[in-house]
Subunit: 336 residues, 4 copies
C-alpha cells in the first residue's frame, strides 16, 4: 500500500504516519516525490487496512499496490528513474549507447576498441574482467588486472565503464573500479548478490534471466531497491525458446510492458540475443523503435579473434553505421 | 542443386539440360531470371553428381543448395519476389499496410472500418469470413455471406481484400472472392491445404505456425511454390513461449533471417503477437525497423464489441497514428 | 451448465427441460448416464441463469461447468469413456499397445512387422498410408494402396488398424479402411478436419499439437464430440521446448491432468517424443507409471531403412522387451 | 582427451605421462579406476595430438572426449559414481528417498515431519534454512537457527540432512551442519558458488536450471568436479515451457540421457515440477520407471500452512502411500 500525503503535509505529519505504520509491525518507506511525499508500506503479510491511516493528519489517499513488486512499481513512483553516470543520463528522453568487447583481453585491445566506439558515439564503455563461463576450462577474465585496464580506459577517454560482478566477495573490488556494476543473466536470481548490490553506491545494470518473467525480473530489481540502491537499469537480452535461428529470442514487448509497469530505465542487448552478427543491426533499430532507453553492443577491432562467449562482436565500421542509423531513428521518433 | 545457364544459352540448350535431369529420375524446374535461366533439380534422393551436367552446352555452373527448401531459397532465386495485388506491390522497397477487423460481422461494420483504414493509409483490407476458433461454440464467421461483404468492400473502396481459407473444400469459394488468400497459423502444416494453395491463381499469405522453426515455415512455403504458385507472402505473428505478458512472443529476428535465406516477402502481424492493445504500436514500429515488407493490423470502430479471438483491435484513431509513425520511420530508414 | 435430472424423471420431463433450454436460444444436449439423465446447455453466450430450470419438474440440480470444454469435461460425464475396437478396450483398466511402422512401405514390410508386434503382445497395428511431411520432396505415403495393405494386415492377423487422415476430402476413403482414424499433431486445430471427424463412425485418435495447452487440446476433442462422435482417444507425443536432447519434451503430467479433467482415454507416443531409440523404453515405462491408458510405439524390422519422419523405430526384439517390462509394471501398479 | 594406462603401468610411468602432458601447457588429471589408471587432459585449447602420448611407456590408448564436460563424462569414468551419506548410497542399484518440508519453520515442525518421513521410509531429511525467494518480502528462512534444528533432527532420528546454500560467504556455515549441500535451480550457473562447492568435503546436490540444457548442467557439475569434489548428485526439477497446467515441465528424458552421458547419480524432484499436489505421486512413479536414482519430495504435517514457495507439500499419509508405490515399482523393475 502507498500512503499519499497532502502537498502541504509537514515533516511532522509524515513522521506520525511512519510511526503508525511501524506500530503495526510493517516497514514504512517514505518516497520523496516532486510535489508531495508518499510513504510505501512494505513487509506486510496479507492486506493492509487503509482506514488505519486515512484518518491521520496530512494523509490524502491510500492506494493499494496491485503487483508483488513495490519500489519498482510505477504506481509507487510515477516519474521515470534517471541514472546519471558521467555525462550520461540513462532513462531520460535520450538514447544511451554502451559498447565494448565481451572480455577485456589486454590494455591495447581495450584502448583500441574504446577509441573506436567513442568516436562512433558510444556514451559508455563495457568490458568483462570477471567472466561467467559455461565451461571451467574457458578464459575466465583477467580479474583485477582487467579492472585496472578499465580504469585506464576511463582515464584516457573519459567514458564511464560498465563491468560485471559475479559474487558478493568480489563486489567491493568491482565497485571500486566500475561506474556501473552489471549483474548477469545467470545471476538474476542470485539473491545474495542482489542484496549486496542494494548496499552499493554504484548504479546496477540488471540483465533479465534466461527464462524470467517480467514479474520475476522486477522482483529481482526490488531486492536492490529494497536494500537502498535506487539506481537500477534493466537490460533485456533475449529469452530461451525453441527458436534456433538466433541464440535467444529477443522479447521486445518487454519494453512497453516495463515502461508501463515500472519507472526504471530499460536497455537492450542485441548482441547476446542474436548470437549472429547480421541480426545485431536490425534488432538495434527495433530496440529504438520500441523506445528502449539504450543499447549495449559488443564491438571488437578483430571480432574473429575475440574471446567472446556466444555473441558475435561487430566490427568498428559496423558499429559506426549502427550508431548513425539508430540515432536517426531515434530523432524521427522524437520529432527532432 | 541449381544448374545455372550461360547468359547466351539457347532454349534448345536449356531443354537438353532438362532432359538430362529427367533422365536421372529427377524433376527439372527452369527458373526464369533477370539475366539468365537457372534450372532447379528437385526430388533427388541423396546428393546429385554435378559432373553429369557441367559438361553440357550452355551450362555455366552447378550450385549445391544447402537448405532443405529450394524454390523458397534465395540461392535458387536471388531477386526479391514481389507480389502485385491491385495497386499494392508487396516485397519491393515499400511498406504495405493491411488492416481491418478480425471477423466480418456485417456489411455496415466492414464498410465503416474499411473507410477508416483506407483514409489512414491502408493498402489492403482484411477480414475473416471463415474463422478458425479454439471453441466449437464461438462465432465461426459469416461464411459466404462474409465473402460477399468483402467483395462489396472492394467494389466500394477499391481496396484489395485478404481473407482466410480453412480447408481445401472451400478453397474455390474463397479464391473466387479474395485478392489474397490467407493460410492461418494453425494450418501452417496442413499439407493438403498447402497443396491446394499451390494450384491457386491467388497470392497466398502464409502465417508462421505457433512453434514453427524458420526451416519448417519455408518448407510449408515450398509446398505452395512447388505446386506452381510463386506468389507467397510470409507473415510472422509471434511464437509460443513461457512469456506471459504478451499473447505470443514476436520473433523479429525472423525478418533478417528470412530476408537472407529467402526471396519471399515477409510481413508482421503485431496484433496477434501482442494480444494487448498498447503493445501494437511499438511492435509495429519495430517491425518497420527490422525491415519487414509490411504490417497486418487489426482495427475495429468499436473494439470492445469486436468478435475477436485474442488480439485486441485498435481504434481507428490509434491506427491513423500508427500509420503516420511507421511511415516516418520507414522514410528515415530509406533516406527519403 | 449441466442440468441433472432426478433418477425417476420421465422422458416427458426431460423433453420439457430441453424445450425450456431451446426457448432461450441455447442448444440442449441430453447425456444419458448410468443412473440418471443430465442435459448439457451449449452455445450460450455469457452465463446461464440456473433459476430458469431449477423449478421445472424432474430437475434435481443445475451445475455450472467451469471449463470451456463441456462434452469432454468430467463434470459433464463422470464415467470413463471406453473405446471398443475389435478385442481392444481403450480406457478401461488395462493397457492398450499400438505398434507398427511410421509408414506402410509394402505389403511384405507391413505383414512382417505386424507378425512381430502381434507376437510381442500389441493389440492394434499402426502404419501411415497418407503421411504429413515437412518437405514436399519426402515420401508422402502409398495412399490408397497403403490402406489396402492395412486391410490385408487386419485380415491376416486380426489386429485392428490405426492410420492417419490428412484432410476432409480423403476422410471417406481412410474411414472405409481404418478401425481408428488418427488426426496428427499438425492437424490438431484443423477445424474442418475435426468437424468431419465428428461425423465419423470410427473412433478418433487425436494427437496433441506441438505447442497446445490442455485446454486447447480438449477443445479440439470437443469439436469431435460436439459433432456426435463420442469415441475420442487423446495421444500425448511431446511438446516443443528449448530442450535439445530429445525431439520433443514428453509432458507426462498431462496424463493425471487429463484423467482428472476429462473422461476421455489418453495414451502416450514415446517414439515421436524421444526421437532417439534408447529413450523409448524408459519413457514407455514412465507412461505406464503415470497411468496412461496405452502406448503407441514405432517398430520396424529394419529400422535403419525405415521411411520415418524423426522418430527412431525399435527393433522387434526391443519392442518385445518393452512389452514385457510395461506389462509387469502395469500389473504391479494394479496389484495383479 | 583421455590417456588410458595399461593395467600394469607403474606409478612412475603414470608420472611421466603427467609430466609430458604438463610440458605442453595442459592440465593432467589422473583418474583412479577399478582396474587401471586413466589421465584426463584438461585446459587444452583446440585438439590434442594423441601421438605425443601414445608412444610413452605404459600408455594403452588415447581417447578423444567428444563432449565439453570431461570429469562428468562417462567416457572418462565408466563406473557409476556412488555417493555415501550415512547409511544411504545414492547412485547404486537402489532408490534413495529424500523428504521433508520446503523450509525449516521451527524445531517441533521439523521433528514432527522428520518422524513421519522416517517411518514411511525416507533415507534423508530435507529442509531449507536459507531460502531463495522471488520476493524480498517473503520469509527468507531461519538461517543458522534452522541449521541447528537440522542438526537436532539428525541427532534424534539418525537421518542425514540436505539443505541449501545460497552464496560462498555462508558456505562454511552450511557445510558445518549439512550432510549434503544443495545448490538450487537459480544458482546452477552461479560459478563462484560452484567453485566453492568444488572445495567442499560434502556431497553437492545440484539442481538443474530452469532453462538449462543437459550440456550446461553437466558443465556446472564439471566446475565442482574440477575443483576436486567428486561427490555430485544431479536433480531434475522441471524446466520452464509454455505449459501452464504444471509449474514446470518435468523432463524425464533427462534421466536416460544423463545415465548415458555421465556417471553421476540423478534424482527427481517431482514437487517443484508439478506445483500441484495430485501430480506428485504419478510423477514419482514415473521417475522410478525411467530409473532415476532417487526422489526428493516435499512433505509437511500441515501442508496448507507450510511456508512453501510454489510446490505443494504432501500430507504424511500421501507420502507413506508414495513410498509403498515407488518401492514396489522399483522392485518389479529390478526383478526383486
Amino acid at each position: 500500500m502507498l500512503i499519499v500525503m497532502d502537498q502541504k503535509a509537514t515533516p511532522e505529519e509524515v513522521n506520525k504516519v511512519v510511526a503508525a505504520i511501524e506500530s503495526k509491525g510493517y516497514t514504512a518507506r517514505p518516497i520523496p516525490g516532486g510535489e508531495r511525499v508518499a510513504i510505501g508500506i512494505l513487509n506486510n503479510e496479507g492486506p493492509v487496512d487503509a482506514s488505519l491511516f486515512l484518518g491521520l493528519r496530512g494523509v490524502k489517499d491510500a492506494i493499494p499496490v496491485t503487483r508483488p513488486y513495490k519500489l519498482a512499481n510505477r504506481e509507487f513512483k510515477p516519474e521515470n528513474t534517471i541514472v546519471y553516470v558521467g555525462d550520461a543520463r540513462i532513462g531520460e528522453g535520450n538514447l544511451t549507447i554502451i559498447a565494448g568487447p565481451c572480455a577485456i583481453e589486454s590494455e591495447s585491445q581495450a584502448l583500441t576498441i574504446a577509441t573506436h566506439v567513442q568516436k562512433a558515439g558510444a556514451h559508455l564503455f563495457r568490458g568483462g574482467a570477471f567472466k561467467p563461463r559455461t565451461s571451467p576450462y574457458s578464459f575466465q577474465g583477467l580479474g583485477e588486472e582487467g579492472l585496472k585496464i578499465l580504469k585506464k580506459v576511463r582515464d584516457e577517454t573519459g567514458l564511464p565503464v560498465v563491468t560485471e560482478v559475479m559474487d558478493p566477495i568480489n563486489f567491493d573490488l568491482v565497485e571500486a573500479y566500475a561506474d556501473i556494476v552489471q549483474i548477469g543473466t545467470r545471476n538474476m536470481q542470485n539473491f545474495s548478490l542482489l542484496k549486496r548490490a542494494g548496499r552499493s553506491k554504484r548504479p546496477i545494470l540488471l540483465k533479465r534471466g534466461m527464462a524470467a518473467t517480467i514479474d520475476e525480473w522486477l522482483m529481482a530489481a526490488e531486492y536492490i531497491l529494497e536494500g537502498g540502491n535506487s539506481q537500477v537499469i534493466l537490460c533485456e537480452r533475449g529469452v530461451r525458446t525453441f527458436v534456433n535461428h538466433s541464440r535467444n529470442t529477443l522479447d521486445l514487448s518487454a519494453v512497453p510492458v516495463i515502461r508501463k509497469e515500472s519507472h526504471l530505465p530499460i536497455i537492450i542487448d542485441p548482441s547476446h540475443a542474436a548470437g549472429k552478427r547480421d541480426q545485431v543491426l536490425p534488432l538495434s533499430r527495433a530496440a529504438v523503435a520500441v523506445e528502449a532507453h539504450g543499447l549495449m553492443v559488443e564491438v571488437h577491432h578483430a571480432p574473429e579473434e575475440a574471446m567472446s562467449d556466444g555473441a558475435q562482436s561487430l566490427y568498428p565500421e559496423q558499429f559506426e553505421d549502427l550508431c548513425i542509423q539508430v540515432r536517426s531513428m531515434f530523432d524521427v521518433l522524437h520529432n527532432r
